[in-house]
Symmetry: none
Subunit: 414 residues, 2 copies
């Protein structure tokens, strides 16, 4: 089995002036590794023709696969296509299917197709065009001396669609790759180092062909177990056995597998129970409702939310007692529990999540510093609430509050 190496080249001045962080490359690197292709180098260069050409020449010396992103838009600063045609000594052809796709995309949005857009259907004749369902510029697949060179747009969601639906499947067909299996165990409830000490004994005993990685996100720690070998099925069983023994150690901390989100898990649980949900949000400001409704089909179980940012709305829309608001403050057990009960009743749902806290950066006091958050869950026959102390960063406080609230709900439903 030969070692198949890929290099990634990102094109765009916005990367070199630090305006855009190169998230494309890390996403691509993770995807390629997952599929048995190592990445040996990641480069970001400007959109000058000579730089692009030079980068391809250098990369060809070292790697079997070169993936370029960026520089395929309709505007004048995008020149990758011309550079590639010149490099592969190719003329252009007008690719009618691409033009039909451009026209249908524009029709959908009621935009007019300009000459500039039409030009995107002109592609080098010795490339295989790759269908870009999310945008107008097709991907372009070239082969030369046993090397594969692919060019994709730099817009993340267009690149991701192309990678998932076109590039990775074609690479898997084109090269003989080792079996690589990655499973991810999704945990929440404790931080990275605490989790590491809880599962230390299990980790030490892992067989040497399996690797463990901790991938922390705010409120979540993903555990990725990766194995590489000749036989996929054997490897898969081996990893499954390890996950079974891990589950015995931390049954409550695992909420799912393989990058499933907490909002998806909750959706599945609610569908199974034919139960409905609402949220009453203060410090999370609608973020939980947003996460819940980001899941297709959520209208089957999600009734709605009352984002009660002001005390007036807490009192009027959620029937929180005015005296309690004054006596205990909005960030209190008393208020958050009344929010959950009030919203559950008003929106006629089986479950309700309520949040009230100080997201920051202002609004903290000695007694209730920034990061203080109360969360309550009302269920068909129960009411639970819990106090959290998160950090000082507004965005992270909102995110961690939402995740903690969804996790509390999950524990109540299951």
């Amino acid at each position: 089995m030969t070692n198949i190496q890929a290099e990634l080249i990102s094109i765009g001045d916005e990367l070199l002036i630090g305006q855009v962080i190169n998230t494309n490359s890390s996403w691509m690197a993770a995807e390629l590794n997952r599929n048995g292709i190592s990445v040996s180098k990641i480069t970001a260069i400007s959109d000058k023709g000579s730089e692009i050409k030079d980068a391809i020449i250098q990369a060809e010396k070292r790697s079997n696969i070169i993936l370029l992103t960026g520089g395929l838009g309709p505007t004048n600063d995008d020149i990758t296509k011309n550079v590639l045609a010149e490099y592969f000594e190719s003329g252009f052809i007008f690719h009618q299917p691409t033009f039909e796709h451009i026209k249908s995309l524009f029709k959908l949005r009621s935009y007019q197709v300009t000459e500039v857009n039409k030009n995107q259907a002109n592609i080098p004749e010795n490339c295989t065009p790759l269908f870009n369902s999310n945008g107008t510029a097709p991907g372009m697949w070239f082969e030369k001396d046993g090397k594969v060179i692919v060019s994709m747009p730099g817009v993340p969601f267009e690149m991701k669609g192309l990678m998932t639906k076109e590039v990775i499947p074609k690479l898997l067909k084109r090269f003989k790759l080792p079996a690589i299996i990655n499973r991810t165990v999704m945990t929440t409830g404790v931080g990275e180092s605490m989790l590491a000490s809880i599962i230390e004994d299990w980790e030490i005993k892992l067989p040497s062909n399996l690797k463990l990685a901790y991938l922390p996100q705010p409120g979540i720690v993903r555990l990725r177990i990766s194995g590489k070998g000749e036989l996929g099925e054997e490897l898969e069983n081996e990893i499954e056995d390890q996950i079974t023994s891990l589950r015995r150690i931390i049954p409550d901390l695992i909420f799912g597998y393989d990058d499933i989100t907490l909002e998806e898990v909750i959706g599945n649980l609610l569908v199974n129970k034919s139960a409905t949900l609402s949220t009453a949000e203060s410090c999370t400001g609608g973020y939980i409702a947003h996460l819940i409704t980001s899941i297709p089909g959520s209208s089957n179980y999600f009734e709605g939310s009352i984002v009660s940012y002001s005390n007036q709305v807490k009192h009027k829309q959620l029937a929180v007692n005015q005296n309690d608001l004054e006596l205990f403050g909005a960030v209190s057990k008393e208020v958050v529990e009344q929010m959950a009960i009030g919203c559950k009743k008003e929106l006629k749902t089986d479950y309700c999540i309520a949040t009230s806290g100080i997201a920051g950066p202002d609004g903290g006091t000695n007694e209730k510093p920034v990061g203080t958050v109360w969360i309550a869950i009302a269920t068909p026959n129960n009411l639970v609430s819990k106090l959290f102390h998160f950090g000082e960063h507004r965005g992270r406080n909102i995110r961690r509050s939402a995740l903690s609230a969804m996790e509390m709900l999950r524990q109540e439903i299951k």
Copy 2:
């Protein structure tokens, strides 16, 4: 004036498997550009000695300044220091001030200094050590044939301290640098290609020392104008003049400058007017409320939201007429306007945004396909509504609905 170019080389396998996003490089690139140093290339490589050496050799051919990050920690997989000593044919010396600093840092944290830590004070004798106030590994400044090569730790906050306090000041002394100015014009309302055709004449007439780049995001196109010259002030005026004439062509499409968000712009407008806002969200599911409340201080103008995902909530909480819901459907001008009026009244605000649409992937019909979205804005003395046709992707439909709604509100407020 010679053109001073820098290259950034990030060392670490974690970058190549996609586990860590290379935020260091974009931060460094922005800092260097701000100080008149262009970045011509950013590379991420593995922590193998041969790769590091090869990357330096390549970079030296092209650039005057090479900044390396990563590979300076005390553990075994960090080898940059040895590679550099070999490359510059240098022996090691024990640097007492660095050792004193390591000892004091460890004392502060009540850790014991091990042999491994002590070894961090061994540095190549022909480098100038740079004081790292945030960590144990010093930066190392080498010069060779007029080129500057600097090695720094990869931990972001150590690198940032070194860059700000040591590297940038030393580079400014060492090289005579041009002025570099970047301004970004934030636009919304039309896509990239449409915008390009509207401002085509202006773009063609741009002086040759100014460069224009289109940076599209869902619902937003950023226009970046970059200039390079001898005199910073002159350049700044020149760019300002160009922005003024651009503003005459697309006054309605520009919502701000230099990466300000629409939710920030709206916040500022509401604060200036001492006005309040609420949202009544169906298809956006709380996302607009989330964006608005992601801005610190938003509790000064944001009262709350009624996320009316179900028709029941639209009727009961927002007083939408039950007959109209049945007759026109939830995604209609009639319903979205009643949502805006009802929520404005219920939550007692000056302005209200309402959305109702089919985010997808299900729920579309021939008459109202996925992507059909109605948006209404209620103001103190007006009510406007508009029909949009977005695409098929749920996440993007939600995002574009939110941005379009905020843009409609902005037009009404200003």
